[in-house]
């Protein structure tokens, strides 16, 4: 009994030293995390002790709605978690990171694509995600933002269920170009060339996660959320190429008129 008390005291001391939000890495906590495909590399780097299921966010949302045994839902948009929250399926979602889209072309780049406008040329074969999955929806937003919807969709030869499939097909040369998250493009540096989507046409790509309401592991699941939101978790997201959450949004206000000046050089 005394040994047991000492062991408990030691455990408490160790836990105290690791910080309030973090959980000990020693043992799996048994959470099942349903997460967007684009989080495939970074989430296990933040917490390797959970069971992950990576797929298109829309697929995961449907599975959770149908009763799949998930504890956490991490989506590549804010819309799906908000819908599940409204339906009472998940607890209140929180935003946790941002991303941006890029174009990838095979390293050989047989069509000589240098920019997004080259995707309008006849004969270019483009792969995108379908519009139900967030990256597909973001892709369509870019095309609309640039007034290129009809020209580029005319060259789309395949639509995938998640971003990683788009990346794989382009890296294998099965398409001339595809739209993926910049973080996914970084995972195959020798196989694709990355072309930026103009900043003025980028959609706002914000990720959100939430605890599933029916999860029997509410406290542990909330601890996972806290871990992702923690300074260390956010630093890990950034190290994998994700963007930090937006600072307070402001619009430029007209500058005040200068009332007096003193001639000096000119």
């Amino acid at each position: 009994m005394r040994v047991g008390v000492l062991a408990l005291a030691t455990l408490v001391a160790v836990l105290g030293a690791t910080g309030a939000a973090a959980r000990p890495d020693a043992a799996p906590s048994g959470l099942t995390v349903f997460a967007a495909s684009s989080l495939t590399d970074v989430f296990p780097a933040i917490d390797k002790n959970e069971t992950y299921s990576f797929a298109g966010s829309n697929t995961l949302a449907t599975q959770i709605t149908n009763g799949a045994p998930a504890d956490i839902f991490a989506s590549a948009n804010t819309t799906l978690p908000a819908q599940l929250y409204a339906a009472g399926t998940v607890e209140k979602p929180v935003n946790f990171t941002r991303n941006r889209l890029v174009i990838v072309v095979p390293k050989a780049n047989p069509k000589g694509i240098k920019g997004i406008y080259d995707l309008t040329k006849p004969g270019v074969q483009i792969d995108i995600a379908n519009s139900a999955v967030p990256v597909g929806s973001y892709t369509l937003s870019i095309l609309k933002n640039m007034g290129l919807t009809s020209q580029i969709l005319a060259n789309v030869v395949s639509q995938e269920t998640d971003v990683r499939t788009v990346l794989t097909k382009v890296s294998l040369g099965q398409a001339d170009a595809g739209f993926v998250y910049s973080t996914d493009a970084q995972t195959v540096p020798g196989q694709v060339t990355v072309i930026n989507v103009p900043a003025w046409a980028q959609p706002k790509v914000t990720y959100a996660l939430a605890v599933v309401s029916k999860s029997p592991n509410q406290a542990t699941a909330q601890a996972f959320v806290n871990e992702v939101l923690s300074k260390a978790g956010q630093a890990k997201m950034v190290s994998y190429g994700f963007l930090p959450l937006m600072p307070t949004v402001t619009t430029p206000a007209p500058a005040k008129k200068k009332t007096s000046t003193t001639a000096k050089k000119n």
């Binding site: 920019g115 640039m146 007034g147 103009p198 003025w200 600072p247 402001t250 619009t251 050089k265 000119n266």
Partner: protein, 175 residues
Amino acid sequence: MFETLAGSAAADPLPDGDLAFARLLVGAELLAADFYTQAIAAKQFGAVTQKYLAIALQNEQAHYQSVSLILSGAGQTPAVATDFNFSYPGGSFGSRRSIATLGGKLEAVFLGAYLGAIAGIQTPALAGPLARIAASESQHLSLWETELDGRPLTGAFPAPITIEQVSDAMDAYTS
């Protein structure tokens, strides 16, 4: 100006191509405002030119408000400065000449962008307000040309540039 643009956007749904021009110009104005903010902060010029830079900054901010109304009138959210990372070549703000060189490059793009938009838009009601902004950008360009070589006037017919060319030019400074 504001009412004209907003009214144009609200009366009939604008085609995607026109909204694309508006989105591009919003980005251009945010870049312009950032450039003038940094140019003023560099304090490389005397009082008179510093005053002109402040006026140019006010102009760009007013342009931003104006072209933003095209998007907001169409139910869309215009970009704000925090949506962009602005960057410039090293030393861009280190001397009067380097600032003037960059200012001349940027203003040539902005002027060409507005002239290109006027040529490319499908909604005639937008052309007038965009032309007035182009005239303002032309004044800014003249400021930098004067600073660079003392000649405020150049060609009789400044050329429009395509949306693709403007986008490529802006890529060098925005991400």
